[in-house]
Symmetry: C2
Subunit: 222 residues, 2 copies
DNA sequence: TATTCATTCAAGTAATTACTTGAATAATAA
DNA sequence: TTATTATTCAAGTAATTACTTGAATGAATA
């Protein structure tokens, strides 16, 4: 009886925010926003040790953001609350709008030039329907396989050079990757613009496209 | 050059989440969502020491959520990014949806009965237009003066008893306070229902009503 | 049953965080 | 100028956090 209900509630809300307050956990959530996955997979993708990833995932679970189930020897984690995606996007928006460091880093990806405005998902959907864009999915093959925007071509950054000769120099190119934290799409756009292509980034990534309720090809995520 | 751009960006996003990850700072933000205020005022309202409040406010400023300006001897803090209000509401939603402790505490406010469903702001606006509801603003007088929902009557919890005889026992009563973290409205509704009144809580508080773009009376907040 | 593999637990360390106290700064008023 | 008031700064302490390492658990396979 030492804490008031108000104090107790605030502590719970802070617990949710706390879960989002470490780079390691943001990486894990970004990964889980693509598709559910086992601990070992998540650890490998994020560069964390397995024990460390496990502990972070448990913290996310305590905050109600993810759940887990056993599948044989493995434990599969998945997003429990879709609001996690919205929360992550908001953190990104607040940081981009108010923190000079963030715009500096993003400009740095374009060699110091200001980052070009992204195309909105609504505009992209329209231009895709007209067949007016070449869409590139800059994520590892397994994430592409687990779900991607219709008609997107999958390539990693490393393989992008090889793809260049097959791209129409006149066409509009749009690149996307995991979401607002992912810099692959930025890097792809920077490279393409350097080679004279008309390239832009999609605002957000696949999780946001999915959240919009738009069509997704591949995968079986509920 | 020891950190990649990705790492650096994640650290900034985590900084924003970190700002929300302490009960003290959530209280300050809740207060700032009512109206801008000086450090001493915020410290008094939240029960923090002045030095401690000042330090928390500086942390919120570093995260880009608030700004400050000098006004004579005082320093006035105010919300810098309206997304802070959305973020706080989302933390509340995630916690209510997924953390058993939270529903337990909320039910506790009603003596163990499940917390009654709140009325949405849209529904409330409609019923207010019909003159079909008595609306109670359960916040301190100064916050009411700084802005409130049209036609609301201001009362503190302590004074509610005295107000009871003037309330129509047949009328529908709606109570609201500071926002999703504020429990005054819960407590007022619990008391009113105990006395046989037909009372409900409004979903969210004044900041959410304002965010909706609805009319607000009093105050001069931009 | 014993072995293997994936995950979690437990203990330890270094770093960070919240809060306190008292002094320093900044603007106003006497 | 000196005094007053509001805020910030600086230093110290206790508590918490992230990460590592190695052992323990749980489920599947040989």
């Amino acid at each position: 009886m030492s804490t008031s209900p108000k104090q107790a509630l605030l502590k719970e809300y802070a617990l949710v925010a706390q879960a989002l307050a470490a780079p390691a956990r943001l990486m894990l959530l970004e990964q889980l926003a693509q598709t559910e996955a086992a601990v070992e997979t998540l650890a490998r993708k994020t560069g964390l040790t397995v024990a460390n990833a496990s502990q972070h995932l448990q913290q996310l679970r305590r905050a109600g953001l993810v759940t887990s189930r056993r599948a044989g020897k493995a434990v599969i984690y998945r997003l429990q609350d879709a609001r996690a995606i919205t929360l992550m996007a908001l953190l990104n928006e607040v940081a981009e709008a108010n923190l000079a460091q963030v715009t500096d880093i993003l400009d740095g990806l374009y060699g110091g030039a200001p980052a070009p405005e992204p195309i909105t998902r609504a505009d992209l959907a329209e231009r895709l329907a007209q067949g007016a864009v070449t869409l590139l999915d800059i994520r590892p093959e397994d994430e592409f396989a687990a779900g991607h925007i219709p008609d997107a071509r999958n390539t990693t950054l490393a393989d992008l050079d090889r793809l260049l000769p097959t791209l129409d120099p006149e066409a509009e190119i749009v690149a996307y990757c995991r979401g607002p934290y992912c810099i692959y799409a930025h890097q792809a756009v920077a490279l393409l613009r350097n080679r004279g292509f008309n390239a832009r980034r999609m605002d957000g990534g696949l999780p946001q496209w999915r959240e919009d309720g738009r069509e997704v090809w591949g995968g079986t995520q509920a």
